[in-house]
Symmetry: D2
Subunit: 293 residues, 4 copies
């Protein structure tokens, strides 16, 4: 080994442990359906350089811990479960100096039978997932909540014009287009405590309502409106990061068939797609620290 | 070419045309979001054997027809749109003797803003898709409706015991397990006309309710209950075909950690999975003909 | 239960058991990497109608059998492994009257180190998979071999013209286009025995060579050439079934930029795509029986 | 808008433009098959806050530029094509201060016919893709090359033992296991010029050979061996980043069937999987700047 070569940033863990918990304590069951990933870093040079694993808590143990904690402590909101796991690994393993727990939650609705909710029957609802990323360094905890694949569409109130044209520009300006995207959003909390469930519901509501209510001159404008709407209304949030694919819907040219297409029939394209990414944050928000990884 | 070689069954078409139609005629917009595939067969030996395309309506034309029909005739229920397309190709192209149109529909909910439905803003709902397969041979039309990826779960009322054991059997019997599946169902209509929208809603309701209400001794029993429930209640349906993956949820052994797992914490496995497939039909139902392809 | 409702065709089994076998007997290791699915049918009315499982060999047992057979009998060619499994289930379980074993094989190449093949290091090769489907009814065995996702492309020698035009036709005729497809092929063997490895290699070779050597006037013509080439050269094959997506490559219009595009720059589209399906078979081939399911 | 809310980091572009170029200039054709994504950032506050697009070069124009450049300048190595595109956007658009071009390349082999390479027929080779990410800020260019989904497996020479045990540890130590991973690697070049094709081939060779030649006590050790092998041999590389999923192969317990499993039959699991991530770099390497984004 050449002396000038060194190990840089590194982490290891168990990805995508699929844990499902059934709470049978009430009259009706509750289910919580998660995909949990753990990542630890710290004093891990030995295993990389010599293969000495004395400081490497196995990823298999990390997986076992996820299952055991779901029993010992329940799950509750995913931010809470993440905090519990994140703190456990750093606080119990001396060589581990930082942990990051990433959780996806899948939603289920209760099945209705004859108009009455069935007590222990469920159906998956929605394509979107709720997410949480919790980071802990032995002193501070950071919580980022989020959602993924919330697919939304406005059938009007979207324009795109006034842009610069160069030699390669052929796009016609438009004052009427479909605007569709799959919202991928993450938002950083000011503090590592709060009413996670309510906060999630409210942030999600503000994102969706801002999407619906913004007369859009660009997807960037919609992105900023969504992020600032959240910050305007939720003091517990310091920063919102959005990644919005522009899922193009092209008006089909029906004129060869003697038909007029008055913004009625569209082709939904797969690729390429626009990709608009941006962060919106408060001036006075605390530093992000290790929140974003 | 050896004389003993011949062309067998064949078909060709355009797969996965993604057409979205916006109906702006009312105060609030309506959107219809489809994935349409066409497949034609008939007197097509020439193109296979010599490359003479005189009888081959291009797949590009088939795609154009999907878009144009969405404008000229609207879409309505997908069975109706499928019938319209299926009949068009056979009736207008002499060499084409059979057409099969397969449609997937994606569902959208109206976004609510402050409790009020927004007039032209939508979000994708559910992971499930509605499907229709329409076949036409110049005389008869067959309609098969369906749904795909309706993920459901019962957290109790499922058992599995009393099965034969051979040298390779290690599975313990159980009187309490999670039963979860992704319902893939298709059902054949007695006739090529009807109230497609209502029929779909009712068949779906019966499938889901039968899943929830069946105390299951095997996924086969649940399958049969689902299919027969539909036939018992919907005289317009002749046959139901179900394909039900058994999405295993394994109870995690927490005893090494000194914990008892009272049917509470599960591991949701990906593969392998059970796969239960079966048809349920009426004695007196008409012959399927070309319905299933 | 209404007396007019009955159970139709049905089967059940364990899908996608991922078994990897390492043969360490020689100086260099060999690995076999499979995805095995089993499906059984027979006297299975009871479990559907009453939940009595006395005739239902658990899918878990089927999975165990796959692993155990990989040890007891080795794997060999996948057709052979499939025959072994197919016969076992029907011959050992009286209520089971038909079994179908479907296998996918993933290919690995030996890693070279300094030009020498390493004895126990491998890399996945190719996107394509080899497949086999074996069916057995207690008397007869049928073997269908195949391959999936063999992606091929001809950059010239492909034309498409002379087709009928209707009101919806806009496609210009072409004498020069890219022809690309992902070959999905299955071929039925005359008999349930043979040199499976050699047969596979030769059929694959003929399919690929026929694709490369055919000056194509339609993808149908290419399909027929591929199938008949196999039958012309491999007497052990009775029938070839091909499903060929036409992976469109559209010439980009560069004229707005003052550039000429002499069949040089293409856009590779995802959807929609053409889909050409057809069977090629011998006059004198044995009846397919249950081969295709 | 509350004055304390501000726009943070942001970028926009066209993702996944699928461009295929056929070079017909020689006796045999050559094809280059790419997936190109562009992302621009700069003085873009207006479009976010007011919807004024005067500084927003349309993503459609970016796509057109990709196609036009493939014609005007050819493609060459993907790092070169990326540099060309990256510099164009910043140098030609005053408000754009940084561009990042991400390219995936898919590999094709020439089809052999009767042992001779066909001049214009190709088949997709391998599951792996080659990647390049080029960043430019108006002054400096950074080049990161990479590969994705190179799936490799050692059938021996892998151990895992000597790790700490806590209350949740059940994993038995092993001195013999399968080690399999899908290599995802990126490596930063010291300079934005070089023999890209040769560098790629050599880095890939060193990664694969190091994987094969390392007797592994942990996947971390293998990771470090792979990264340091590259740096030891390729002075043009400053840093290697590796993300290695541990694709678990579990030895199947065949003892219930009276069989001994001498490291022969394995179950290949999907999830959860270990995930080992790490960077290896030189002491004396230049600062990464904007290379990694």
């Amino acid at each position: 080994m050449t002396p000038t070569i060194q190990l840089g940033a590194n982490q290891y863990g168990k990805a995508e442990t699929r844990v499902v918990r059934v709470n049978r304590s009430g009259g009706a069951h509750e289910i919580t359906d998660l995909n949990v990933s753990t990542a630890l870093s710290g004093d891990l040079t030995d295993t990389h350089v010599t293969g000495d694993n004395a400081k490497v808590l196995p990823t298999d143990t990390q997986k076992n811990t996820v299952f055991a904690f779901a029993k010992e402590h329940g799950i509750g909101e995913i931010e809470e479960f993440g905090l519990h796991l994140a703190r456990h690994f750093v606080d119990s393993q001396e060589p581990i100096h930082r942990s990051r727990i990433t959780i996806e939650q899948y939603f289920w609705d209760r099945i209705g039978v004859g108009g009455t909710p069935a007590p222990h029957s469920f159906q998956r609802s929605g394509v979107e997932t709720r997410t949480a990323t919790v980071t802990y360094d032995g002193t501070t905890s950071w919580v980022v909540s989020g959602l993924r694949d919330l697919v939304v569409l406005n059938s009007t109130d979207s324009e795109f014009w006034g842009y610069p044209r160069d030699r390669y520009t052929t796009l016609p300006e438009t004052h009427e287009r479909i605007l569709a995207t799959a919202v991928n959003a993450e938002w950083r909390h000011v503090a590592a405590e709060g009413d996670w469930g309510k906060s999630y519901a409210e942030v999600r509501r503000h994102l969706v309502e801002a999407f619906a209510q913004t007369h859009s001159l660009s997807l960037q404008q919609t992105l900023y409106a969504m992020g600032s709407r959240v910050l305007d209304n939720r003091p517990e949030i310091a920063e919102v990061r959005l990644s919005l694919p522009n899922k193009h819907h092209f008006l089909v040219d029906l004129s060869p068939f003697g038909l007029t297409n008055d913004d009625e029939v569209y082709f939904a394209a797969d690729r390429p797609y626009g990709l608009i990414e941006g962060n919106v944050l408060r001036d006075d928000s605390p530093e992000p620290g290790l929140a974003w990884g």
